[in-house]
Amino acid sequence: VNLAFSAIVLALLLLPGGLFRYGYLRGFFRRAPAASSLTDDLTWVLLTATFVHALAIGILGLFGKIVDYQVVLPLLIGQFGKDQVLLTNLLDRLPKVQGEYAAYFTATAFIAFVFGMILHSFVRRLGLDRNIAFLRFPNDWHYALDPHPNKQFGVTPEVYFSAVIDQKNDAYLYRGIVADWVLDRFGGLERVELKNAYRRKLAEDRKGDEPPQPQIEADQRYYAIVGERLILRMSEMRTINIQYVFTVPADQFDVDNQFDLAFDPQDPNP
C-alpha cells in the first residue's frame, strides 16, 4: 500500500512533464505518431515537470501557500514514519484539502500541456525545426508529405507521389497527388490516399534510347484510376518517389526560356 501511494503521488507530479511532452510533440500536426508512454523520455518529462512545479510553487508562495517538504519528500520515498503516522495524518486531513490538491494537479497539468502546444507552434512558425537538428520533431512523414509554405512563391506545394507496388506477377507504378495519409503508432507511414491517380506496368518503362513520352493520357502505358481517392498501403509499396508541385499565377512570375515548355526557339516573336 505504501509503495502504491508513493507511485500515485509520483505519477501526479510527473503528469505535467508528460503532458508538456505530448503537447509539444503532437501540437498542430495534421498527422503525428500516437503518444508514447511517460517512460519513453524520462529526462524530458522530469525536467519539464520540475520546471512547471517550480513555477507553480513560486506563484503559490506569493499567495502565502508554502509547500511542506518535510511531508512531500517522505511521501515520495515511501517513508511514512513509525506506525505510518505520516500517512495516517495525511489521510485524516485529506477531505479538508482535497479540493486544493485537485486544483493544483489539474492546473499544473493543463498549463504544461498548453505550454507544450505554444512551444510547438513557436518552433514551427519560425521554422526552427527545419533548421536546427535537435528541434526537429520525430515525425519524418510530416516533413515529406506536408511541405512548408514556400516564401519565394507564396504557396504551399502539392505533393506528387509515385510508388511501385507488386500485384500478382507484375510490378505497377502508381502516381497521384497526396490527399491524405495515416501513420501507425510508431510514426511509420501506414497508408497514403491519392487523388488524380494513374498507374502503369513498371515493365513498360521507357527503354534507354527511347525519347520521353510525357503526355500521360496519350501514353498508352498509363490509365487513369476511376474514383475519388486511391488508397495505397505502405506494406505493399516497394519504392517511393516524391515531387513537390508548385502552381503560381503566370502574370506574376517569369520563367527562363529554356525551362518554359511553351517556349519555341523557332518562334521569332515568343
Partner: protein, 57 residues
C-alpha cells in the same frame, strides 16, 4: 481544400492541361496551363523552381 489545391485539381481535370502538367513533372520544366477560371498558371516541380522568378516590374 486550399485554393492552390483546388486550382491544381481543376487543371488536372482538364485533359489537355493535364498533359502539360505531366510533361512538367517528367521533364523538370515549367508548364503554362489554364485553370477552369480561365486564369493562366505556371506549374513546375522543385527541380525547376530556381528558374522561376518574381516579375520585377
Amino acid at each position: 481544400m486550399s485554393l492552390i489545391d483546388k486550382t491544381l485539381e481543376g487543371i488536372l481535370g482538364k485533359s489537355s492541361e493535364a498533359r502539360k502538367v505531366q510533361e512538367a513533372l517528367v521533364s523538370g520544366r515549367v508548364a503554362r496551363v489554364t485553370a477552369p477560371d480561365q486564369k493562366q498558371y505556371l506549374v513546375f516541380t522543385g527541380e525547376a523552381a530556381a528558374h522561376v522568378k518574381k516579375k520585377t516590374s
